[in-house]
Amino acid sequence: MKKVIYLLIFLLCVQRSVAADVIDGVARKQPVNFTAISMFVLFVVGTLFITYWASKRTKSAKDFYAAGGNITGFQNGLAIAGDYMSAASFLGISALVFASGFDGLIYSIGFLVGWPIILFLIAERLRNLGKYTFADVASYRLKQKPIRSLSAIGSLMVVLIYLIAQMVGAGKLIQLLFGLDYNTAVMGVGLLMILYVTFGGMLATTWVQIIKAVMLLSGATFMAFMVLKMFSFSFEALFVKAVEVHENGIDIMAPGGFISNPIDAISLGLALMFGTAGLPHILMRFFTVSDAKEARKSVFYATGFIGYFYILTFVIGFGAIVLVSTNPEFLDPIGGLLGGNNMSAIHLAKAVGGDIFLGFISAVAFATILAVVSGLTLAGASAVSHDLYANVFKKGKSNEKNEIRVSKITTVILGLIAISLGILFEKQNIAYMVGLAFAIAASTNFPVLFLSMFWRGLTTRGALIGGSLGLFTSVILVVLGPIVWVDILGNTDPIFPSIYPAIYSISLAFLATWFFSVTDKSINAVEEKSRFDKQFVRSMTGIGAEGSNSH
């Protein structure tokens, strides 16, 4: 209690000094947008109250990791959609549409079609078998130590790369909006996120996510509505105008630009589709609902909200081509977009709704980043505390109090790492960064999780070697690829030519898992296979599932 009051006072101070910086910064760059600042402050104060409320209800490990298991299917659907409709996808996909038209839709579709797969194959089994993290499921009948370590490392890699994308988006957004220094902005986001997660756990993180999802959907709906209204609700009229003003002309109506060859196209498709089923912060959300029935409902609502949102971003991107790229107010002296292409949706907000709506959308985009980084960090912290500390290091014999404490310490450390990486990766395109996180999720977490639920023959040896190879390959290929090897490390030519490694790393992960499982003749392997039947009955019926009523 005292801690929380101290926290609030502390935050008010931070708030005041941030506000002071904002005014100084803005004086240099652009006029102070009081609407944006007050809306943002309102959001922060509101969410801190939620965090305070949640902190009083967060006592056990189940409260901290899974919001007590009391979230409804509808609420969880909104929260999942919130996790997924990150700033990277809102700003990044509208920027892709803005820059190359149709190509943005390819990304959107890839992001969406992972959801039906998760529903048909993963969601309910995950809910029936797991407790707090997907590693609970992956290691259900295998050896705890190696499998949990592998899953935790996979989770942390995905979390860190995804965090970079979010932090970069946050820094640029605040820089543009408030005229704040990029580094200060990134630090502010990191700090607020640490507060939400350490004090409010999953309950606060979920409600911050729900509120933000509603705000984002409303804001995006308004923007798309205003754009379409301008063209009497005719897509054709919108496209005609966009083709007329865009430098690539009619080419924006067909696939082009960023996917240059067939292998890249398939590789990106695989990463997006199966990556979703391997994202730790998304998988974790299935443990916040009471049973498999609610888990299924949450995917249906989430798919609906996300699909609707992607249709909106498509309209928003085209709206920005027409209304933003033609308006000198939003352009820098050499004709580029102020703040870069990632700001196209933000500029469009001003174009269709003036300063007040710009303030609203900026506050929403900022809220989005805060909510998503909180969810990510909680997933990363759980991997460390629940998987590594409680089950690997303490072999399942730790007490809840210590486990939660480790989780909170990890949150602080992850927050600091996220801030440093956010600063290091300032110049990267954030949509590609998300693509990389998906490649790792699809090649490490997904194969092990999927095979553990569906294939009797999976053994610890197979899962460990296959999953590690998937992780290793995807990371190495990314490091040797054009983005890290050339853009960041400054070499002239990439060793691996493509930025989409998934097709190689996923295939290798599945093949190696299969091969090293079928050739595993140990006694352990026989026992692991024999445990499959019971696991299967539980995954189908939910008997014995965490928090189930069917005793």
């Binding site: 969406l112 054709e236 196209a265 299924r296 699909g307 189908m540 019926t541 008997i543 014995g544």
Partner: protein, 104 residues
């Protein structure tokens, strides 16, 4: 009754075998549909991107790719709705019966 005994008794229940068969057929059928639709789209992008650039009608700017893309999004939503409706209704009823029988 021990929980592991319940698992074995359920596994022998013909109703459970029926549930598994029906549910698996249903989930894998829907999975196959979404995979086919999506990878058809991706393969068109990979090997015949010009197809998606054909106007939907003579003299129009809107290309075939646009309605096709929107269709995949809406189709995905509908498919999840179909799954949830059937599994939360028909299959869950069967699951409850199996669970109750395992308690006898």
């Amino acid at each position: 009754m021990l929980i592991s005994d319940r698992y074995s008794s359920i596994q022998k229940n013909p109703k459970f075998q029926k549930l598994v068969k029906r549910k698996n057929t249903f989930s894998w059928f829907l999975t196959a549909i979404i995979l086919i639709v999506y990878f058809a789209f991706i393969l068109i992008i990979a090997f015949y991107p010009k197809f998606l650039g054909i106007p939907v009608a003579e003299g129009m700017v809107t290309t075939i790719g646009i309605p096709m893309g929107l269709f995949i999004i809406i189709f995905s939503i509908i498919l999840t709705g179909v799954y949830v409706r059937r599994v939360n209704g028909e299959f869950d009823k069967l699951t409850r019966e199996i669970i109750e029988e395992s308690l006898k």
